[in-house]
């Protein structure tokens, strides 16, 4: 019992605690609301239900995981959403236009993702431009590239390739969950290796890291490439989910993944972990799902009640703002780190000069 309370206390102090609390609340609300709406209390645990929820949202959760890596090392990237569309476009177009096997297309897509991430990294880490505005510029650049490759939504993925992704293994285990676990496992591996320590050191204080013999530029570039790898996987998941290509989709994932990470308790630089991103993004997803079930229940119960998706989106966004409010209570100590980190992010040299 004692060890349990000790480990609970330990967990309360970790950065992921905020996100975890929000996640559990949203999960319980979702289970409850879905149960009420469908009339079956355990409707959420139906494999089809949770696996389709995971499948459709795996790309977003992966985006948030990639974003959290950048946040840890003190960077951010709001063009990450449109990069997902780039991967999707290359995945579809390379096999379609060149007649090569699908897996070659996937490899090219992964290469494209790594290349763009290296370019973003070069601007923010090597040239030391404000990461926020670099991301804004890259939204234009990547969008232009996407449309140049694929002028309008088109293409398809063979049935035998997307079906295994869309249907759970053995009827209970969604592939999307395995992908998420694999990426998270990769993170746990990296975290234990020197690179993991370097990520935190550079994010916490690049100067001290440099003095300790770590090259901040190199580590930030490595983080960017890792991000590119995760975005590549996310883009492939997106392709398997839609089974078609769209050059202009997912752009809003960029800003949304950023809010999700902050909700999950990540700070800017040296604070938080990938779990924060996972919890924050899952909170996002579960709230949207809960609100959908809530409104569809209201429509059933109240005759003549009709609410457009506009209302649903409004309610979801208000709950997200309330989620930010909740973090006041759960994460007071984290605030200072977070704010200092963000200032550093935007002010760059100016802030360092002042100190």
């Amino acid at each position: 019992m004692n060890t349990l309370s000790v480990s609970l206390n330990k967990f309360r102090r970790t950065p992921a605690f905020t996100g975890f609390v929000l996640f559990v609340i949203a999960l319980l609300m979702n289970i409850l609301m879905q149960g009420i709406n469908s009339g079956k209390p355990l409707a959420f645990f139906n494999p089809n239900s949770y696996s389709s929820l995971l499948m459709t949202n795996a790309p977003f959760i992966l985006t948030a995981m990639a974003q959290s890596l950048l946040l840890i090392v003190g960077l951010l990237d709001i063009s990450i959403g449109i990069q997902l569309a780039l991967v999707n476009v290359v995945c579809i177009m390379v096999p379609q236009e060149l007649g090569v096997p699908i897996w070659v297309g996937w490899l090219c897509a992964m290469g494209a993702s790594l290349l763009i991430s290296a370019m973003v990294g070069a601007c923010s880490a090597v040239l030391r431009l404000p990461a926020m505005l670099v991301g804004y510029a890259f939204i234009f650049i990547v969008k232009g590239i996407n449309v140049a490759i694929m002028s309008k939504p088109q293409g398809k993925v063979p049935r035998e390739i997307y079906l295994p992704y869309q249907n759970p293994v053995a009827g209970v285990l969604p592939i999307a969950l395995l992908v998420l676990l694999a990426v998270f496992g990769l993170w746990l591996l990296i975290k234990r290796r020197p690179l993991g320590k370097h990520l935190y050191a550079v994010g916490g204080n690049p100067r001290n890291a440099y003095a300790a013999g770590i090259s901040p530029v190199k580590v930030q570039m490595q983080a960017n490439l890792l991000k590119g790898f995760i975005v590549g996987i996310g883009g492939i998941c997106l392709t398997l989910m839609n089974a078609s290509g769209n050059p202009l989709q997912a752009e809003d994932y960029g800003l949304r993944s950023l809010i999700a990470c902050i909700l999950g308790g990540l700070g800017f630089g040296g604070w938080g972990s990938m779990a924060c991103g996972v919890f924050g993004a899952s909170f996002f997803v579960l709230i949207q799902n809960t609100v959908y079930h809530f409104f569809s229940y209201l429509t059933k119960v109240i005759s003549g009640f009709a609410a457009s998706t506009y209302w649903q989106n409004l309610v979801s966004d208000i709950i997200l703002l309330l989620g930010l409010l909740v973090t006041i209570i759960t994460a007071k100590e984290q605030r200072k780190t977070l704010k200092e980190g963000l200032l550093k992010q935007f002010k760059g040299g100016a802030a360092r000069d002042k100190q």
């Binding site: 431009l129 590239i145 690049p206 409004l314 966004d317 997200l320 973090t327 605030r335 963000l342």
Partner: protein, 333 residues
């Protein structure tokens, strides 16, 4: 030998002085760059150089300069306002919906009052949350801005809402001497107020102090939290005013019609020499930045490139602009 050396070094010395002067004054750089890009635009398409072109350049620059005023104030105070675009769009929808093709003093006052109250309310919400939640301003204002956009969808069901009155539209887009758009009359009232607020008023001094060093401002007796909230409220009201004018320019409004202004205003302000760190910046610089952004977008239009190359070029130019101003120092230094 010596004379040739002199000839070689003299221009170098001058160039060094010029570069130093430029480095000290980002607004000057923005202004010179605008002139350069403007010249390129004319050279590419001499026939496009006419009264209509100049008129639309002035109109768009003025609109962007007005909508960036609030952003300038907030950035100088050390914050950031991402809700500029959402508030502008909301004010534009209020304007076209209320006017519904009618013109009268009563309706004008109604539009002005409704929009400004809306802008102030959003600003108050932003300021309150920034102070209370203690999260970075960027995240908080982004979340608030999302809600404002969602509200617009609920209010209009996603379709365009009403039309601005014809007389009001004329008061924005009418060209004096077939050249100068009437919006400059609004600017002639609005801009002096901003200049006075930032440079002459006590409040302006306090904003600079708070942006420079919050702790020191607090110790000198400035009510820091109130100043910060006030910057957001004023920013909201200024964005709402810009939205009204925007409705006059576009004549009709739909959801998120000015959404892009959230980022365009930010880039214009930064290019104009205001820094993310707070405490530094001028409205004059912002006007130069707005001119640069407008000339740039005009140039990209004149090049008649397909949308794809236009997007890519636009992104690359923003990166180049950032490289001229916003590089932070290397860790080694």
């Amino acid at each position: 030998m010596t004379s040739s050396k002199n000839v070689r070094t003299t221009p170098g010395v001058h160039l060094g002085k010029v570069m130093a002067a430029l480095r000290r004054s980002p607004p000057l750089v923005a202004f010179l760059l605008s002139a350069l890009l403007f010249l390129i635009t004319i050279l590419i398409n001499p026939r496009g150089f006419n009264n209509r072109f100049i008129g639309s350049l002035i109109l768009l620059t003025t609109l962007l300069a007005i909508s960036s005023a609030g952003q300038t104030l907030v950035l100088i105070g050390g914050g950031m306002d991402f809700s500029v675009g959402a508030v502008m769009s909301a004010a534009a929808i209020i304007t076209t919906y209320t006017m519904d093709k009618q013109d009268s003093l009563m309706i004008y006052l109604q539009v002005l009052a409704l929009s400004l109250v809306m802008g102030a309310a959003v600003g108050l919400l932003n300021g309150f949350f920034v102070i209370r939640i203690g999260l970075p301003a960027m995240i908080v204002t982004m979340a608030v801005s999302n809600i404002i956009t969602r509200l617009q969808y609920v209010f209009t069901s996603g379709s365009p809402a009403g039309w601005a009155g014809q007389k009001f539209v004329d008061s924005v887009i009418y060209r004096f001497f077939d050249l100068i758009p009437a919006i400059v009359l609004y600017a002639a009232v609005f801009m002096p107020i901003v200049f006075w607020l930032l440079n002459r008023s006590k409040f302006g001094k306090q904003v600079y102090m708070v942006g420079n060093n919050r702790q020191a401002a607090l110790l000198t007796g400035v009510r820091v939290n109130w100043v910060i909230i006030a910057t957001y409220v004023i920013s909201g009201m200024m964005s709402a005013f810009a939205g009204i004018l925007g409705a006059g320019y576009k004549a009709t409004a739909r959801v998120d019609i000015f959404g892009e202004y959230a980022f365009t205003s930010l880039v214009a302000v930064i290019v104009g020499g205001t820094t993310f760190s707070g405490g530094v910046g001028t409205y004059g610089g912002t006007i130069a930045g707005a001119l640069l952004m407008t000339v740039l977008s005009n140039l990209l239009t004149t090049l008649r490139l397909p949308q794809t190359s236009r997007d890519i070029l636009n992104g690359l130019i923003i990166i180049l602009l950032l490289m001229t101003y916003n590089r932070s120092k290397a860790v080694r230094q």
